[in-house]
């Protein structure tokens, strides 16, 4: 995690005028703001080539044939996928990796922003590359990429043995496995999905399909003792090394840990489980009844349910509170500890807790305009765009990045200004 203490938390605004960008360039793609709000960037097209404009300055003297997927790392460095002369690579702050690939995609930044990983294809073979260094082995196909918390290790579901399409029985013998830093597990499976690292990066778990009908969880290539009619993505306990995953049998979902049921109450649906920081609580998105959705914490669903969907489950940093987004009809609601805000939105983004857990903020859309809501109160300003808000480490201030009438604005305001 990147500490935001060094950021400028003085109350006030900084503005960057981007209104002339559309004249300067043939076109300007989506704008992205750095996490600290000091930079705003977009891929731009100029002289029939691509470039990136950051705070009005072009990224590179030498434009590229193609640039896409511009984002910022958590430590505020812009990066993008870039192609020149038919080779693809990654560029960070305008510097490209020296290595190029036939294709590179799905970039992932580590939590501290120091490492970047991508999926790469070279001569029809697939691997991952971290900071420009590709795995030593490659595979027939790749998917479900995972980057370890520190960014030092990568893993993915890989097809170890190539089978031609139509060879169904060869396929059913198992061609997929998990590769960690390019080294694949010995056992092969019919399918592998959703690869997850343990917090200490020493273990890797994934969903595996043993034949057309039996599914289970594999940890470092070892299977759980039970098989299920299907499973969803596993996750690790933050400290104990235990693995939990939703598993389905007889048409019902329960939560299992290392092959044993830990939430006996079955659900119509159960997924996206996550532990709080110390691992004392486990929450998940559930459907307790057909067509009704909510959050369950330690197996107990909130009484308040929603008819359309629930997403973006989030624990507060202290692990005591839980927030999520819930959709009823076309409207989105922010729900905290089982209580929905009064305001409903056309769209809402993942709720953000203050470090002490007392305040919840979210980027929201109302009447086609964007703003920020804190504890069910709306910021007085609606904009053409806002980015997701961020609390200061002392809980008192909120960083809001917004765009309106061609002006990008970095605002630091007192949380009380909205929340009270």
């Amino acid at each position: 995690m990147v500490s935001n203490q060094s950021w400028d938390w003085d109350i006030g605004h900084k503005e960057i005028d981007i209104s002339d960008w559309s004249q300067r360039f043939e076109w300007v793609e989506e704008l992205y703001a750095s996490p600290d709000g000091e930079s705003v960037a977009a891929i731009v097209h100029v002289d029939e080539a691509f470039n990136v404009c950051i705070n009005g300055t072009l990224w590179s003297e030498a434009p590229a044939d193609k640039i896409w997927h511009l984002r910022f790392t958590p430590d505020n460095r812009p990066y993008a996928l870039i192609s020149d002369g038919g080779q693809w690579t990654v560029a960070i702050s305008g510097e490209t990796w020296s290595e190029g690939y036939d294709y590179a995609w799905n970039p992932m930044a580590s939590a501290d922003g120091t490492h970047l990983a991508v999926a790469v294809q070279q001569a029809g073979r697939y691997a991952m590359a971290v900071d420009g260094k590709a795995w030593e082995s490659d595979f027939s196909d790749i998917g479900y990429f995972a980057l370890s918390p520190s960014g030092r290790s990568t893993a993915a579901a890989v097809q170890v043995r190539s089978v031609d399409s139509g060879q169904v029985h060869a396929f059913q013998e198992g061609t997929f496995s998990v590769a960690v830093d390019g080294k694949s597990w010995d056992p092969m499976f019919v399918n592998v999905w959703h690869v997850a690292f343990s917090p200490d990066e020493r273990h890797v778990a994934a969903e595996v399909r043993l034949n057309l009908y039996d599914y289970t969880i594999a940890v470092d290539g070892q299977l759980w003792p039970q098989v299920y009619s299907t499973v969803w993505a596993p996750c690790f306990h933050p400290t104990s090394g235990a693995v939990v995953a939703p598993v389905r049998n007889k048409g019902e979902w329960v939560m299992a840990q290392d092959g044993r049921t830990i939430w006996p109450q079955p659900f119509v649906q159960l997924w996206r489980q996550q532990f709080n920081a110390d691992g004392s609580r486990l929450a998940a998105i559930v459907a307790p009844k057909y067509g009704r959705w909510t959050v369950a914490v330690d197996g107990a669903p909130w009484p308040l349910t929603f008819g359309t969907m629930v997403t973006d489950l989030t624990f507060s940093p202290d692990g005591q509170r839980v927030a999520a987004l819930a959709k009823e009809g076309a409207k989105w609601h922010v729900v905290v500890d089982g209580r929905a805000w009064q305001h409903a939105f056309e769209m809402a983004w993942r709720p953000v807790f203050s470090p002490d857990g007392n305040a919840v903020a979210a980027k929201v859309e109302i009447d086609g305009r964007y703003t920020v809501a804190v504890n069910d109160r709306l910021w007085s300003t609606a904009c053409d765009m806002v980015w997701e808000p961020c609390f200061s480490s002392d809980d008192t201030r909120l960083l809001i990045r917004s765009l309106d009438k061609g002006i990008y604005r970095r605002s630091v305001i007192s949380v009380n200004k909205i929340a009270e």
Partner: protein, 447 residues
């Protein structure tokens, strides 16, 4: 007729998916699987259907296979139930491998799950559902036809139906974007644009073989000023042949990936290309398996999307398509989604003249390709052609009344009708709505 029968029987022997599967069957496995599926995976509907059916045969005339095969009762909807489910129930699962082979052929290649028979049964018995249960048993027994099983494998491994790899998908979109920029320089296919209004999703044959459809869609989106995006991750494919292979677990997994991709991109709607079975999978079947009573993010089929764009004037037609057209109503979006009047509105806005086929709208005849039948591959093509003579007659009739172009706003229908038009030498040009709109719309001037 006899010749066709012989041909299809002969070619069916070549289906390695069925034959290898049948060789591996044991009486015990057959019995266990049948009893577990019928016992644990069916409920009130299945029971009520079995107990309510009075064997009146009124469903027969609904079925294009029955009508086209000179009213051979083996092809009637209830006749298919009689040859599959009734003996399984009566014998309590003690049926032999030859029976299973035949059941696989019936459920997978002689029924399109089009549900027209539901409209002909006084009790509304859903024989398509019954055939889906047979397919579930066939899946559990490992006897699914080869091509369909391979497609289900592709879905499971890649979340798309044609083994399109992660890089190939994005590369294709970027290639189409480049191509389209030759025509409209500032055109974009926005990838991973979080917060767009619409996620546009397609089926894998588009990037694999028909990339021009993505090009056309991009031109339509651009011209209409739609705030849209396409995902650069898995979950872009809205199709789902696992739904038809009885592999419900994979069906659900594929649909989850699709909806969660749209949710991740924070879009308000998913607009899908001209595909019927994909619509069924996201609007009716897959969402239900996952516990969503209705799609959590609204699904807008291309017909409805074009209807809205034309009605609101966001796209304008420069010159209507002047050849007389006839319109095929795809089962999954018409009987399954009620889009028939919107389709006619679109035709009225983009074409000079519509020659209706009869019967039409929700009483249309199926194309005989849907329900995963065409996906069972070449071994069954003859059977599919013989099994849809009535569609050929409909098309001939429309042609004799002047139709020159056949609009089929569904991929499977498109391919199935293409086969029929050639097999019966009907001579109709087949198009998607998107083809005609792209051809006839006002486009931004190329400076």
């Amino acid at each position: 007729m006899a010749e066709t029968d012989k041909d299809s029987t002969k070619s069916e022997e070549l289906d390695e998916g069925i034959e290898v599967g049948v060789r591996r069957l044991t009486p015990e496995r057959i019995q266990t699987v049948i009893n577990s599926v019928l016992g644990a995976e069916t409920g009130a509907r299945f029971k009520a259907y079995i107990q309510t059916c009075i064997h009146c045969g009124l469903c027969s005339d609904a079925c294009h296979f029955y009508l086209s095969n000179d009213k051979d009762p083996r092809f009637s909807p209830v006749g298919k139930v009689k040859q599959t489910i009734w003996p399984m129930i009566q014998a309590k699962g003690r049926v032999d491998a030859a029976f299973i082979r035949r059941a696989a052929q019936i459920a997978h290649t002689e029924c399109n799950l089009c549900k027209r028979c539901v409209q002909y049964c006084p009790f509304g018995i859903d024989i398509a559902y019954m055939m889906s249960m047979v397919r579930r048993i066939i899946h559990k027994l490992g006897v699914t036809p080869l091509y369909l099983q391979d497609t289900a494998h592709s879905h499971a491994a890649t979340m798309n139906q044609m083994w399109v790899k992660g890089d190939e998908w994005i590369d294709t979109l970027q290639w189409q974007e480049d191509e389209a920029r030759e025509e409209i320089p500032e055109l974009r296919i926005p990838l991973e644009k979080e917060g767009a209004d619409i996620m546009y999703s397609v089926i894998a044959p588009e990037p694999k073989f028909q990339a021009q459809l993505i090009y056309q869609a991009a031109v339509i989106m651009h011209t209409a000023g739609v705030n849209w995006t396409m995902p650069a991750s898995m979950g872009w494919d809205n199709s789902d042949m696992a739904m038809f292979s009885g592999d419900n677990e994979i069906m659900g997994r594929v649909k989850r990936a699709h909806f969660e991709t749209a949710a991740r991109l924070k879009v308000k709607k998913i607009v899908m290309g001209e595909c019927g079975h994909a619509f069924r999978s996201v609007y009716d079947m897959g969402n239900r398996w996952l516990g969503w009573a209705m799609p959590p993010i609204p699904i807008v089929h291309a017909i409805e999307f074009y209807h809205d764009l034309l009605k609101s004037g966001r796209i304008r037609i420069a010159r209507k398509y002047d050849k007389p057209v006839t319109l095929h109503d795809p089962c999954n979006v018409v009987r399954g989604g009620g889009l028939h009047e919107m389709a006619r509105y679109v035709v009225s806005q983009i074409c000079e003249q519509l020659v209706e086929m009869h019967p039409n709208r929700e009483h249309n005849y199926c194309c005989a390709a849907g329900g995963g039948v065409i996906n069972c591959g070449p071994p069954y093509k003859n059977k599919r052609m013989a099994g849809n003579r009535v569609k050929a007659e409909q098309l001939f009739d429309a042609k004799s009344r002047g139709a020159e172009t056949l609009i089929a706003p569904c991929h499977n229908c498109h391919s199935g009708l293409h086969d029929i038009v050639h097999h019966y030498e009907i001579g109709l040009d087949i198009k998607f709505f998107g083809d005609i709109i792209y051809e006839c719309m006002e486009k931004p001037e190329n400076p």
